[in-house]
């Protein structure tokens, strides 16, 4: 568990962070989202002591990181992924991935075995990639290598700072899926920083919205979209809410009838969430407040929105 208590960072009389308090649960994929300059990187780097707060505390499982005497040992337990991968251009892919392993004193054979395993896991063939130099990789490949470098030593926590912002949309979507998949498999705590709300919504178990050094709201994507805490959060997700379709929109469009359904869903639940329910049990009616929505309503609603757009 990661706890931030009243964390403030001042640069001169500018506050990059202003009394941020936040708890991130173990095994969570937590996203820090906010516009550029809102203090996300500053907050993230405090976890592995690349930055230190002016006041306040950061606790990892109840122990204060400021009290750590061996900073290197602390950092070796925490993976780090930077924009573009930040691979060392003088080393091969294998050497890059093995950096944390070499630092921990793994034998050469153990390193090679682990690197091979990791490459395979992210869909890079070891025969082809082990000896390549970073300059011979595409952006997506380089960032895959950056991610497995962070995973290599099986850290408890992985920090990612805008890892995909320089990638093309297709690679970005693929890598987002990869992160979700790796997180599902490894259950490592991941703190992921991005300024892209779509990315935040796509990845997050929970997310925190930052603005001008202040924490605006913390919650699940559905909570933030459904009940934004203030104008800034509402504004920030406005685009996403337009693109996203919610059950309350279906009701507002006149579908459904009063009654009781077999399963309850919140008005802020998305059409996707509804579709997932229907995939499990295709005939199920869902209860949204006082209204019941039948499976046919989903099809009718989607068809009607299609007509509007056409």
């Amino acid at each position: 568990m990661l706890t931030f208590k009243q964390v403030t960072k001042a640069y001169g009389d500018q506050r990059a962070l202003d009394a941020v308090s936040l708890t991130i649960a173990s095994h969570e994929l937590f996203v820090l989202v906010g516009p550029s300059g809102s203090g996300k990187t500053t907050l993230l780097k405090m976890i592995n002591r690349l930055n230190t707060p002016t006041s306040g505390q950061i606790l990892i499982d109840d122990s204060d990181v400021a009290a750590v005497t061996d900073v290197r040992a602390l950092r070796r337990r925490i993976g780090y992924v930077l924009q573009g991968g930040a691979l060392f251009p003088n080393m091969t892919v294998a050497q890059n991935v093995a950096v944390p392993l070499a630092t921990l004193g793994w034998s050469q054979a153990a390193q090679t075995a682990r690197v091979t395993e990791l490459l395979t896991q992210v869909g890079l063939s070891p025969e082809r990639f082990l000896t390549r130099k970073p300059s011979e990789l595409s952006g997506g490949e380089a960032q895959r290598v950056g991610i497995i470098r962070a995973l290599a030593a099986k850290p408890d926590i992985i920090l990612m700072d805008e890892p995909f912002s320089a990638l093309d949309p297709l690679s970005r979507t693929q890598l987002q899926a990869l992160v979700r998949q790796l997180h599902a498999a490894l259950k490592t705590t991941i703190v992921f920083v991005t300024h892209d709300m779509d990315e935040a919504l796509a990845l997050a178990d929970r997310l925190a919205v930052m603005h001008a050094g202040q924490l605006q709201q913390v919650g699940t994507p559905a909570e933030l979209l459904g009940a934004p805490a203030n104008d800034f959060v509402a504004q920030f997700f406005a685009g996403a809410r337009d693109a996203q379709q919610y059950l309350r929109q279906v009701i507002a469009a006149g579908f459904g009838h009063p009654g009781t359904g077999e399963q309850a869903l919140a008005p802020t639940a998305t059409l996707q969430a509804w579709a997932q329910v229907l995939r499990q049990t295709p005939t199920q009616a869902v209860q949204v407040g006082p209204t019941v929505l039948e499976p046919a309503d989903l099809i009718a609603y989607l068809a009607s929105t299609k007509e509007v757009r056409a």
């Binding site: 690349l50 290197r72 930040a86 060392f88």
Partner: protein, 507 residues
Amino acid sequence: MSQAILTYWQENGAEIWRALGQHLALSLLATLITMVIAIPLAVVLIDHRRAGEAVLQVASVIQTIPSLAILGLLIPLVGIGTVPALIALVLYAIMPVFSNTYAGLTNIDPRLIEAADAFGVSRRFKLFRVQLPLAMPMILTGLRLAAVMVIGTATLAALIGGGGLGTYILLGIQTNNNAALIIGAGLAAALALIASAMIKLLARGSWRWLAGGTVALLVISGTALGVTTWRNANRETITIAGKMGGEPEVLIHMYKDLIQAADPSVHVAVKPNFGGTAFLFKGLTSGKIDIYPEFTGTVLQSLVKTDQAVPHQPAKAYQQAKQLLARQFQLTYLPPMAYQNGYMMTVRRADAERYQLQTIGDLQRVPQFQAAYDPDFYQQADGWPGLQQAYGLQFSKVRTMEPALRYEALADKHVDVTDGYTTDPQIKEYDLVVLEDDQAFFPPYQGAPLMSTTFAKAHPKVVQALNRLAGKVTTAQMQALNYAVTVKHEKAATVARRFLKDQGLID
């Protein structure tokens, strides 16, 4: 020309190879020492930018000091030979190596440094696996610049007895021997190009390879230098140096032959083309050299302090020089040789006969003549301005000209009268006539061995041997000797020995 170079190479091949080896060893050692100083310094200062900038400033200031000035400053401190040359070269080379290394180390993509820190790598890992490899292209650029510069500047080592290819460049300039000049300069240039190319190749190798190579080279050159020094330290060595040019070189070889004939057990080291008067005098007074030939006129005009005018009688000039040197510097000035190497005025033989010219005074009769002078002679009080007054001379045109070109201009009839030195071989080469200085206007310039009084007392045999030259070597003989060395390009050692044998001074 190429024939002359080939011949010169055939005659001096072994010595040229040795000079090349010396040059290479000196340059290599200087570059390696520079690396050992500059690269760790840059590493230490990575996180101290202000100190780094300060070092950069100091290094650039050092670079602007002329190399001759640095050599001059170093002689009293560390003597002559390899050591001051090495120090001067290192001082010069530090700037390019340090500035490039420092720039390389401090301009690494900050994300890479952050990544290294974030993974908690050791300091050593960060330095040797991240920072140095990433700065390597810049480091090698610095090394390449330094190596090329060092190889070029190392030619100056010859000025202070450090040997190397500069010996042939100086020899070539001083004795007008283009073959020697081209060999010296050509080899130095080739060496620089090869070094540059090799470092470029190195850029493709790995850091470890470079480190290993560096250590190996350091050990090899260190050992070689050590062995040479140790060998020389085992015997008493008398060091005789000479000024630039063929004439001093002949003289110091005569000294050497005479001393070794008198006492075969001593080892005499000759250092020809050692430098200007100031260099030699400093070397002598600081005990780095033991003997060098100096002129009476130079002693009185440049070395000792005196209010008296320079006497025009050679014997008086010598006595005055001897007393002042003994009193002011505790130096012993042995009796001079016969020849005068002073200023003189010269004309073509045809003109001398046609106008009946024998003395400088006779030039009053030929105001239609055009004159060309060495720029120094043209300005100095004891040159043309004084001469013109003393003899009441007037020419239709007077101009200054590069000393080396004056004689050709005279021979080709572009001018009719020039100044020169009485022992210049061109007098013989172009069959010129030297006009008599009947008013004894020019100060006397007689050569004699100069040494410290302590040395003279400790080495009576050396003094005795050198005194055999007193009153010997006439002006005509010296001209002939200079002719053999400067025009015929014979070796000074050979010419000196032949003369001493002919004169019965050695067997």
